[in-house]
Amino acid sequence: MNVQGQIVKVGIADMNIAKAPDKIRTSGLGSCVGVVLYDERSTTVGMVHVMLPDSSLGRAGAINIAKFADTGIPAMVEQLKLEGIQPYKLKAKIAGGAQMFQFSSVRDTLRIGPRNVEAVKEYLKKYSIPIIAEDTGGNSGRTIEFDPSTKLLNIRTVNQGVRNI
């Protein structure tokens, strides 16, 4: 028996669910945004690694729903519902949306980090999910790990150390 629990990994444009004592982690967030959805009274949590704001930007037929804010957040809300967590109880912690490179050019795709953060907030608002804590923007990559027991989101950066929110 491993009482320590495992680490559930969430890849890029991916989502997953973890239950205590496991933790859930996504590594190397740049302009992407990590969204954790949880209920204070439950130890089952979900994480989505959002890469793009809006699936209508997608030009291909079949889409990976975890990739977009507008499809990933609803999909995770549904998955948690199947785990018995009612959407109105959900709270969120989010991190990421950095601007990894400084360009003089103003092409819109280059502002992808801030746009991802805006889109995530918009869709959380749509579901009336309050954001309890966030660490967004800046220009550092982040690795985030959420502990379903403590509801703390641990954020590691290369240049700015470690913090919990």
Binding site: G11, I12, A13, D14, S27, G28, L29, G30, S31, C32, M51, L52, L57, G58, R59, A60, N64, K67, A98, M100, F101, Q102, F103, S104, S105, T109, I112, N139, S140, G141, R142, T143, V158, N159
Partner: protein, 209 residues
């Protein structure tokens, strides 16, 4: 083209591109540093985004990453990624300052500027060789530098592509210093990620259908 019609012939053409581009860049690097640089046989692979991070040593590996966009007849993203220890060694040698370190709080401006210039020269030699070989017009944007987790750096170059695909065709050439013990993970990489619609142009220029 992107998802189903790539044949081994196409892959060979792309490998040759990686070969020619990276050979010129490695020569430039070797001249700049006055030391021998090993180049591996290029790999061309169609990989998921997560696998792409693993090619570069895993999403959390700290690297000095140079990123630039390519415009012109071919569009795409290019990365020159060095593990931060290797970048430190290169820059120390270039600016003759043994104390230089990207991972300290205050990174000296001259070191950063040397790294940017290194990225500029190497990507320039890679792309001009590619342009000569294919007779395609290729214009690189000014390279940008970031010292951070490789996942955070490379995912940025996948944004454009991720609108239409969950996979990326990557032309990967690894380089290494000859006199440094060959740890598999400690390697520099050139990654060329042509946009999906650019493959036709590349193949056409080289007479492959």
């Amino acid at each position: 083209m992107y998802d189903n019609k790539i044949t081994s012939m196409h892959l060979d053409v792309l490998k040759e591109i990686g070969n020619i581009g990276a050979a010129h860049a490695a020569t430039a690097l070797s001249t700049l540093l006055n030391k021998k640089i090993d180049m591996k046989v290029p790999k061309v692979e169609m990989v998921s985004f997560d696998d792409m991070m693993d090619l570069a040593g895993g999403p959390e590996r700290v690297v000095a990453g140079i990123y630039l966009r390519i415009e012109g007849d071919v569009t795409g993203s290019m990365f020159f990624v060095l593990p931060v220890e290797q970048a430190n060694r290169f820059i120390r040698r270039l600016i003759q300052d043994e104390t230089f370190d990207f991972q300290t709080g205050e990174v000296s401006e001259i070191g950063v500027s040397a790294m940017q210039e290194l990225g500029n020269i190497l990507s320039g030699s890679y792309l001009s060789a590619l342009s000569d070989f294919t007779s395609l017009k290729i214009y690189p944007t000014v390279p940008a530098l970031s010292v951070d987790m490789v996942g955070a750096i490379i995912s940025f170059g996948l944004v454009e592509l991720s609108h239409i695909s969950d996979y990326v065709i990557v032309i990967d050439t690894a380089i290494n210093e000859e006199d440094v013990p060959n740890e598999e993970s400690v390697k520099g990489h050139f990654f060329l990620l042509p946009d999906p619609e650019s493959f036709d142009a590349i193949f056409k220029a080289l007479g492959v259908n």
